[in-house]
Symmetry: C2
Subunit: 217 residues, 2 copies
DNA sequence: ATTTTCATTAGACATTAGTCGTACAGGCCC
DNA sequence: GGGCCTGTACGACTAATGTCTAATGAAAAT
């Protein structure tokens, strides 16, 4: 029997995924998470999980940074990215950043089954609509590694930074002093190789949807 | 005879566009710009231009903010957006934000001719690959209006902010005091309806590639 | 059991960012 | 010309940001 963690903020969609899981095996062990905070808890509570089905657009998730964070917390745990996004570049990026595949939400049941089985066996599955080449980028990979090295608390602070909040506001939300947030910021900047909150925001926004159309004459 | 402003940072591609223009009329009046700074100059020097062919990925341009800026400087001047980007959402956004069409760089000569002729007649042309609906977003439109209302100097400061530069660095580059840059920042924040440089960066990064995949169950 | 490592927490201090009031030059209307 | 608006520019002041040092506690290594 396999244990799955289903991370998606839509109850209906989580349910749909669970239904498919039951077609794969009779009594799957399913853990659900509806945001990054609960996902983090589930990851530590269930270190024996076999697969994470991860939506990149949950509350607290910012594009690929969510994937990087999960890979950083549980490097050995296979992750299958699920998203409404259909763009080939996004699919390729997901795999490049450590995902065992990419599942568009428009996928049919058979594709979902195939993708999950592949991921469990350590293989990568992509829909036919995904293109061929994987351009890769030094800076992006470095950034992904940086995000993966963040602690849970630091990742949380980063997402709140990405909401445009002030240090003071973040401190209030997390019930710590502003000085603590500043210390986290400094640590985050170092790990992401940036020098200010402005550059940090720029870095992760590039990560979200940057298409590699920079290959120019 | 019509006067064109061709704004693209690739000399080869500018040349190619010029060749096509010559097939439309015998002696087109062509003005070229290779970055946003020179484009700004050309706009003021040639207020009698009939059409701008604008690449969204020039130095100094940040996605749609470049389009917004041009529309703000010369509201009556038709703009035809040229880009390597092929995504339907991007094409729709371009039109929604005031462009007279969208020309993928992979277009054939006939399409380019058609698009230019349409634009000159005030009509909108889109390639077949562009989808149907135009979702639109209140916030995005408001933001575009804000960018369009920026003065040239303010736009310049905004682009440098989007490079992750400090006020001090921007001041040095523009050869003014830091106090001046701060004043510009405050003005920019007001026009973009944000309260800090962090939020300003977030706002324009959303504008660049935000796909309306937020229509959720 | 002890050491080591590291996340988390903060206070003191220095730097950067942002607001306000103001000044000056050019364009425009009357 | 004399007002009037606007873009640009600046200094002074306040708020926010970032660095450094250091203490605590918890987990991992020895």
């Amino acid at each position: 029997m396999s244990k799955y963690i289903v991370a998606d903020d839509h109850p209906l969609f989580r349910n749909a995924i669970c239904q498919v899981l039951k077609t794969i095996e009779e009594t799957p062990d399913i853990v659900e998470a509806q945001d990054m905070a609960s996902l983090q808890t589930k990851l530590t509570d269930h270190p024996d999980a076999d697969l994470v089905l991860l939506d990149l657009h949950m509350p607290g998730a910012h594009g690929f940074s969510a994937l990087a964070y999960v890979k950083g917390q549980s490097p050995e745990l296979p992750v299958l990215v699920v998203s409404a996004n259909e763009k080939p570049e996004i699919m390729q990026r997901a795999v490049e950043f450590g995902s065992k595949g990419f599942l568009p939400k428009s996928s049919g049941i058979e594709d979902i089954q195939t993708a999950i089985k592949s991921a469990l066996q350590g293989e990568v599955w992509l829909p036919d609509s995904a293109g061929e080449q994987t351009p890769a980028s030094k800076d992006e990979c470095k950034l992904m590694k940086g995000i993966a090295s963040l602690t849970p608390q630091q990742y949380l602070v980063l997402t709140m930074l990405a909401e445009g909040l002030l240090n003071k506001q973040i401190a209030y939300e997390l019930d710590v002093t502003e000085a603590t947030i500043k210390a986290h910021m400094t640590a985050i900047f170092r790990k992401l190789s940036v020098r200010s909150r402005t550059q940090a925001v720029l870095a992760i926004s590039k990560l979200n949807l940057e298409s590699p159309q920079n290959i120019e004459s």
